[in-house]
């Protein structure tokens, strides 16, 4: 059996422990499988009736064998006790918090992930950067329904439950890019609720943090409709509102923005006032969006930088520039 670690690298300190237990179990499973299926097949082949056998013949009148039954009850029981002991130890290692861990607040909502770094006041959308070689604590929060934080290379998983904060503790042991997958059914966008996890060396991580802090502080300059806004629309709204005109709304042209849609008619912006503009309100998190649903429908949602860009364009007059 190919070790999983050959195909799916181990990226946390827990992964090695978990893979070890998995391999231990796999060996035992293979043994049980071969014994049970082997005897089954052997008996079927050896004791089957063949043409010419006496049709009235009976099998041996065996009712049981107490010693054999005790043995085949005791051995699995012993194996399971040993296994439980191994699991017990590893489980308590997995859930043990570390006082000096690097904290990341993870928020799960339908259908995107948000990672906030409280130490540096940096927030990232649909991605999660982590330093390598450090103890990490993730504080998991869900805003709407149950989600589950799963990075297969990390080998651990934890549900994010509304109203009930949960935590994960691990040490990153391998640089790389991994997929964060939602592992608890959360609605129509469940299959698409993904993010990239970037585990970087400490120095790379700090450099990235610095870059984020500068970008978030920097004001949004002059925004161009053709260069900035249309690019955003193409990236995030193409499938529904450029190829398909769903909801009667087309974002393919500036006139389409003026016309609006069938569900929310009228111009999508109010020039000079982003807070009163449909297009700005409809991409906000939470509830109460015009039409009843946050856009893009089902996520992934726009980053705060992109939202600010749209807001800035509206405040600058929402011109066709």
């Amino acid at each position: 059996m190919t070790p999983i670690s050959g195909v799916l690298p181990e990226a946390t300190n827990h992964a090695a422990d978990i893979d070890y237990i998995f391999k231990f179990m796999a060996v035992a499973a293979m043994a049980i499988f071969l014994i049970v299926e082997g005897f089954l097949l052997y008996f079927v082949l050896k004791y089957r009736m063949r043409p010419g056998d006496d049709p009235e013949a009976l099998g041996s009148n065996i009712h049981g064998n107490t010693r054999l039954e005790l043995v085949w009850s005791a051995i699995p029981a012993l194996f399971l006790i040993v296994l439980s002991g191994m699991c017990y130890k590893v489980y308590f290692d997995i859930i043990a918090p570390h006082a000096d861990a690097y904290v990341i607040d993870v928020t799960a909502s339908q259908f995107s992930w948000t990672c906030t770094h409280p130490e540096y006041n940096v927030t990232e959308y649909s991605s999660c950067h982590m330093p390598m070689g450090e103890q990490i604590t993730l504080n998991l929060k869900a805003t709407d329904v149950i989600h589950s934080f799963w990075v297969p290379e990390f080998r651990v998983k934890q549900d994010a439950v509304p109203g009930y904060p949960t935590r994960m503790h691990f040490e990153t042991t391998r640089v790389g890019t991994y997929h964060l997958i939602c592992a608890e059914f959360c609605g129509v966008g469940h299959a698409y609720m993904r993010a990239n996890v970037y585990v970087m060396t400490k120095s790379d991580f700090l450099a990235w943090i610095k870059q984020q802090q500068q970008a978030q502080a920097a004001p949004v300059g002059q925004v161009s409709f053709k260069k900035d806004i249309e690019t955003l629309f193409a990236a995030h709204c193409m499938a529904c509102h450029i190829s398909n005109n769903l909801g009667g709304l087309s974002l393919a042209t500036y006139n389409g923005l003026l016309k609006g849609g069938a569900i929310v008619p009228g111009s999508v912006f109010k020039a000079g006032d982003h807070k009163d503009s449909v297009i700005w309100k409809i991409i906000q998190p939470g509830t109460g969006q015009p039409g009843g649903n946050r856009m893009p429908l089902g996520g992934p949602y726009l980053s705060s930088h992109d939202i600010n860009t749209i807001a800035a364009w509206i405040d600058q007059g929402a011109k066709n520039n």
């Binding site: 799916l8 978990i18 237990i21 998995f22 179990m25 049980i32 499988f33 049970v36 005897f39 089954l40 008996f43 079927v44 004791y47 089957r48 009736m49 013949a57 009976l58 099998g59 041996s60 009148n61 065996i62 009712h63 049981g64 054999l68 039954e69 009850s73 699995p76 029981a77 006790i81 296994l83 439980s84 699991c87 017990y88 489980y91 329904v145 149950i146 589950s148 799963w150 297969p152 080998r155 651990v156 998983k157 934890q158 549900d159 439950v161 109203g163 009930y164 997929h179 997958i181 939602c182 592992a183 608890e184 059914f185 959360c186 609605g187 129509v188 469940h190 299959a191 009843g292 649903n293």
Partner: protein, 560 residues
């Protein structure tokens, strides 16, 4: 009293009253446990076909990454109803309502169940309950939160709909099915405790009856607990009562505890009767007693007790307290022991047997081989550190299908092939039966074994789409699933030909020693012309099954 009967119709008191409604009185409103049992089977198989077709659409959508055979919300409805219908509208009614009703009174030597009219009521609740589950499709969409129906997603109104009618239909449907099950459980428990024939002590009961006994005790105690949970969820949706709303003091994890307290014992309700069927078939087709009768009987009881104590192993990643996680891990590991005892005993029964490799035995052996795999992967999932990787992935989908399909469905078909002559009075075509077995067994393993691998490699469950790297596996799985679906066509053709012009069945085509084989195929109303008296166990092939007590004017006679 005449016990001859013709074909499927069972002569009934109602038969003497003619008229155009005689058919309804005789076949739908009969209180005869055999008619009711067959009705459960027809209705269950109907829902099995629909739920199976849903599975084929699911596999069509998953055959390739990025395909949009159905939209994501319809996909979620299909997965939800597939699971719910297979569990509540097929497996449980088929095993308990179908096989339980038909066989149990016969096997204990009774004329019917303790409360025949209540039995009819139980059945009559079932088809409407099933239809209600599907009604959601007519009201904007069926339930789409998975068969586990976790809040908050299950109480969230789906986008675009004014109310979640589908979820309301689902909740009402399952409540109805639960009421039906509970009434049946009371009926069967009283019957088994009180109506066993002379000489039928507990240690002479067929193992199917031991299995049914534990099953109905489980049903009696946990189904009302589910009803409580379902009612509370229904109130949450219809009236906005904040049981699961953290903003008003409610608790999201509450549902999971209440739901799994029922649903874990439910999986034993779904497998124990199947195991009972296997325990009946292997001795008959090996021509020797079951190995370890007491061990199998007592392990069923042990599983019944332990079933109540392990529910939160479905919640290892949900954030429950560490001491609870370790307790549930230990308890779940323990439950593997009595299960393993059964598997070893079945295999040991084959030793020095005279094995007749006919279709009932083939399906029984198929069950043992696939259920063993399912049981093994269950241990993987019980180990908490490993479960943290496997929960919510296709590894779990593989495990559950190995135990529910490889287990319950194989056992159901094993039982159908075994008792078909007794229930219908006809024989099936053995060549077609074997063809069905091989097609089903091979395609089943091809469909579900690869799921273990993609689960471990990173494919979550309940997804309408997936990463391209899993494309080849999923295509192979989907193709195998179509072959699996097609294998049932062989069964239906075989069944139709048998019913139309199959060879007439003798009373005891397989040489069984349980009491149902001492009466004609099919049995008449009232089952036994004279009280059967049992003087030994049900797997002693050196002796006849029973001798019969005196009729009012005759002496007793042995059965040859």
């Amino acid at each position: 009293m005449a016990t001859a009967a013709i074909g499927l119709g069972v002569p009934d008191h109602a038969q003497s009253r003619g008229g155009s409604w005689a058919w309804v009185r005789r076949y739908i409103l009969s209180t005869d446990h055999k008619v009711i049992g067959l009705n459960y089977m027809y209705t269950s198989i109907f829902f099995f076909i629909i739920a199976g077709l849903f599975a084929e659409v699911i596999r069509m959508n998953l055959a390739q990454p990025g395909s949009k055979v159905v939209s994501p919300d319809v996909f979620n409805q299909l997965t939800t109803i597939h699971g719910s219908a297979m569990i509540f509208l097929f497996t449980i009614p088929m095993l308990v309502g179908g096989f339980g009703n038909f066989l149990m009174p016969l096997m204990i030597g009774a004329g019917d169940v303790a409360f025949p009219r209540l039995n009819l009521l139980s059945y009559l609740l079932f088809p409407p309950a099933g239809i209600i589950m599907f009604l959601g499709f007519l009201f904007g969409g069926a339930a789409q939160a998975g068969w586990t129906s976790y809040p908050p997603i299950s109480i969230q109104t789906p986008p675009g709909l004014p109310h979640d009618y589908g979820q309301i239909c689902w909740l009402v449907s399952v409540i109805f099915v639960g009421v039906s099950s509970t009434i049946t459980a009371i009926n069967f428990l009283v019957t088994i405790l009180n109506m066993r024939t002379r000489g039928m002590s507990f240690h002479r009961l067929p193992l199917f009856i031991w299995a049914m006994l534990v099953t109905v005790i489980l049903t009696l105690v946990v189904t009302p607990a589910l009803a409580g949970a379902l009612t509370v969820q229904l109130l949450s949706i219809v009236f906005g009562i904040p049981f699961f709303d953290p903003a008003k003091g409610g608790n999201v994890l509450l549902w999971q505890h209440m739901f799994w307290f029922y649903s874990h014992p439910a999986v034993y309700i779904m497998i124990l009767p199947g195991m009972g069927i296997i325990s009946e078939i292997i001795p008959v087709f090996s021509r020797k007693p079951i190995f370890g009768y007491k061990a199998i009987a007592y392990s069923s009881a042990a599983i019944g007790v332990l079933a109540f104590l392990v529910w939160a192993h479905h919640m290892f990643t949900s954030g429950i307290q560490p001491w609870l996680e370790t307790y549930f891990m230990f308890a779940t590991m323990i439950i593997a022991v009595p299960t393993g005892i059964k598997v070893f005993s079945w295999v040991a029964t084959l030793f020095e047997g005279k094995l007749r490799l006919e279709s009932p035995l083939l399906f029984a052996l198929g069950f043992v081989s696939t259920f063993t795999i399912g049981g093994i992967t269950g241990i993987f999932l019980a180990a908490v550190p490993v479960d943290l990787q496997e929960h919510g992935t296709y590894f779990l989908v593989a495990h559950l299908h190995y135990v529910l399909f490889g287990g319950s469905v194989f056992a159901i078909f094993s039982g159908l092939y075994m008792w078909w002559p007794k229930m219908t009075g006809r024989m099936l075509n053995e060549k077609l039966s074997k063809l069905h077995f091989w097609l089903m067994y091979i395609s089943f393993n091809c469909t579900f074994f690869p799921m273990h691998i993609i689960g471990l490699l990173g494919m979550p469950r309940r997804v309408a789409d997936y990463d391209p790297q899993f494309g080849a596996f999923n295509l192979f799985i989907s193709i195998s699933a179509f072959v699996l679906g097609a294998s049932f066509l062989v069964f239906f053709y075989n069944a139709a030909v048998s019913l139309a012009r199959g060879e007439k069945a003798p009373a005891n085509p397989w040489g069984g020693r349980t009491l149902e084989w001492t009466v004609p195929s099919p049995p008449g109303h009232g089952n036994f012309a004279r009280v059967p008296v049992v003087s030994g166990g049900p797997y002693d092939f050196t002796k006849p099954a029973a001798w019969f007590g005196p009729t009012p004017t005759e002496g007793s006679e042995e059965l040859t």
